[in-house]
């Protein structure tokens, strides 16, 4: 597989799985506005995943649905951060903000790509992501003084580093440190490849497709 296809799959998998996790707040967020916000963010992320899978699928001679749903759990390339199931608001906001901050760097790099399909799609994705970042920043401002948020960021930081390739991590850490009134712990990044909490999600996400192979709707 080309480096391009691998990168597209990594990002698409991140967006699909995080979109899935975000959608788990639908109906049970702390208040109605956040039910709406996380559902909408989830819809956007899954839309981005579809567009990225489509680019990868054109290159690999397959379809976006096959890439999204027909691979075995161990074949997914998402970062462990997006798989974690944390039905706790502080952890959700910590992950949301850490993810969007990393994603901004990643999208900026893709926008500069010489591949017109990749740079064009990245620019389109970025128009939508602006609103995710505003939402994440607003919540960070609200919670940044709480010990709970700090503990969540401490726990998730090594996972967050695993989102980006090694070359982008220094800039990422600088941005995170510049924004937080407290530091982030030193530690080894948790890299792509392990799937600590994907199995159950995968079972649920692919159940219909496995149950009725070839179905269309």
């Amino acid at each position: 597989m080309s480096e391009r296809a691998q990168l597209l799959l990594e990002i698409a998998d991140d967006e699909l799985i995080l979109g899935w996790r975000n959608s788990e707040w639908t109906g049970i967020a702390p208040f109605l506005e956040e039910d709406v916000a996380f559902s909408s963010i989830a819809q956007n992320e899954i839309g981005h995943a579809r567009a990225l899978y489509t680019l990868a699928a054109d290159e690999l001679g397959t379809t976006p649905d096959e890439l999204a749903f027909d691979r075995r759990p161990e074949e997914y390339r998402c970062a462990p951060l997006v798989e974690l199931r944390r039905v706790e608001w502080g952890a959700t906001i910590a992950r949301h903000w850490l993810y969007e901050t990393a994603d901004e760097l990643r999208i900026a790099a893709l926008k500069a790509s010489k591949d017109a399909d990749v740079s064009g799609l990245a620019a389109k994705i970025d128009r939508e992501e602006v609103y995710h970042r505003l939402h994440a920043e607003m919540w960070l401002d609200r919670l940044v003084g709480s010990e709970q948020l700090r503990a969540c960021i401490d726990e998730l930081w090594p996972y967050a580093l695993g989102l980006l390739p090694a070359g982008q991590r220094e800039e990422y850490e600088e941005r995170v440190r510049a924004r937080l009134p407290f530091g982030v712990p030193a530690g080894e990044p948790i890299e792509r490849g392990e799937h600590p909490e994907l199995a159950e999600l995968w079972e649920e996400m692919t159940m219909v497709r496995r149950g009725v192979p070839g179905a269309t709707w």
């Binding site: 956007n44 992320e45 579809r50 609103y131 920043e137």
Partner: protein, 161 residues
């Protein structure tokens, strides 16, 4: 033989599946129409990538072009060419009449939270700018929720992208 004007007219009669007061042409999603004998090539750009209306729009265009006796080829172009600035003046007015505040024009940079929280957004019902942001997100990816303190009416505001 079908002409490109006929195709534009036909596409201009297709309502947006989610907000049927505005047509696909007014929404600015039709990028190009090319007529080559009986073949009609349409380039179309989605608004938001996760918009579920994408397939419905494509199917509607396909059907209308076939009704004119031509063979459609609808190409979905996923690049950076669509922005809310492409919604036509007539389209904006129709949105406003239906109670959706049309998107603000895009500034030089990306929208900021200070802008969204500012009083520069007009209530589509009473025209007051005494409105506040209730939620960046709304019932579909393209809309935010605002509240008008003057006529005490919540309303949907198109996001600027």
């Amino acid at each position: 033989m079908v002409t490109s004007e006929q195709i534009w007219d036909a596409l201009g009669a297709i309502p947006d599946p989610e907000i049927p007061v505005i047509s696909l042409v007014e929404l600015g999603v039709i990028r190009q129409v090319e007529v080559d004998g009986s073949r009609v090539r349409v380039e179309f750009t989605p608004t938001f990538l996760g918009c579920p209306a994408l397939e419905a729009m494509r199917d509607a265009m396909d059907a209308r072009i076939r009704e004119l006796g031509a063979e459609p080829e609808i190409r979905v172009v996923v690049d950076d060419s669509w922005s809310t600035d492409r919604i036509t003046a007539a389209g904006r007015e129709k949105l406003r009449e239906a109670g959706f505040a049309p998107p603000a024009p895009r500034g030089p940079g990306a929208p900021t939270i200070v802008q969204l929280q500012s009083g520069s957004f007009k209530c589509p019902y009473c025209g007051s700018t005494d409105t506040r942001l209730e939620n960046i997100f709304g019932p579909t990816p393209c809309r935010s929720l605002r509240y008008c303190a003057s006529c005490r009416q919540p309303f949907e505001q198109f996001k600027t992208i």
